[in-house]
Amino acid sequence: MPAEADLVAYLDPLVSETAGINLFEGPMPEAPDNCVALTHYGSQRSDDYVMSASLSAPGSELVDVQLMVRNTVKATAIARAAAYHALLDNLQSVTIAGRSYFAIESDGEPYSLGQDLNYRWRYISNYHIRKARG
């Protein structure tokens, strides 16, 4: 399962949004106005050979995921983005859907992308994940 699906499953019981209703695997849909989406936008080969013989493939992989919060009310968008950030940033050693997630780190606090063409506020944060392969 892609990382975005794993993270949606992990977050669903922890947040007020509901998977498939207003919490989505990205990219973010046009509706509803107020929602959250996680989009897997990049992968890199891990340089971590510690867990296996040096000539074997690494035991982990690096994945980049963007979390976007959209809300018609700016303060709510900020608050929701901060809430997700508190759950995900610096999260270490969790098992999601049977897969080990060793570390999740953000680039920093969520920041604004301004309003979209429908005047909805958007806040994003990018997360870099080291997880077990597969």
């Binding site: 973010m28 963007q66 301004g114 979209d116 994003i124 990018n126």
Partner: protein, 149 residues
């Protein structure tokens, strides 16, 4: 939109640079710039150029490598590759409130935008792909300086 590689706090590196004197900086600076130019060239191929853009191609042309900082006192090497900023702000008025100063950022970070040409994360992708080469590039430059020294 700025991506910056910063090597900091490596006492051995700073000592090696100090020991080699100005020769090391002379060797290192062009190597750092060349690394940045490679990232920039790859990024420019990915920068979105949309028919609806206020000034098509302006964002692509705004890409630049900022002159590296090599500080022995702070034990720090810094190189930045940048898109947007003043060259774009002077010319772009997106026509939508709150967005004038976010043009480059939106093009880079908004994964919901649809592009006929180019893509989001146009700088992050080539930058991260090239990042593992950066330490080897520094070592090569130091070797050259030592051999020339």
């Amino acid at each position: 939109m700025r991506f910056r590689v910063e090597v900091t706090g490596y006492r051995e590196l700073a000592e090696a640079l100090a020991h080699m004197g100005p020769n090391a900086k002379k060797r290192l600076r062009p190597k750092m710039i060349a690394w940045g130019e490679r990232v920039l060239a790859n990024a420019k191929q990915l920068v979105p150029v949309g028919e609806d853009d206020p000034v098509p191609g302006l964002l692509r042309e705004s890409g630049r490598v900022v002159r590296p900082t090599i500080s022995l006192a702070k034990q720090k090497l810094v190189l930045s590759v940048v898109f947007g900023g003043d060259p774009v702000l002077r010319n772009v008025r997106v026509g939508h409130r709150h967005s004038d100063n976010l043009y480059a950022l939106k093009q880079h970070e908004d994964l919901t935008l649809k592009h006929n040409d180019g893509q989001a994360k146009f700088l992050e992708r080539p930058f991260m792909a090239a990042a593992p080469e950066f330490p080897d590039m520094i070592l090569d430059a130091l070797d050259e300086a030592a051999n020339a020294g």
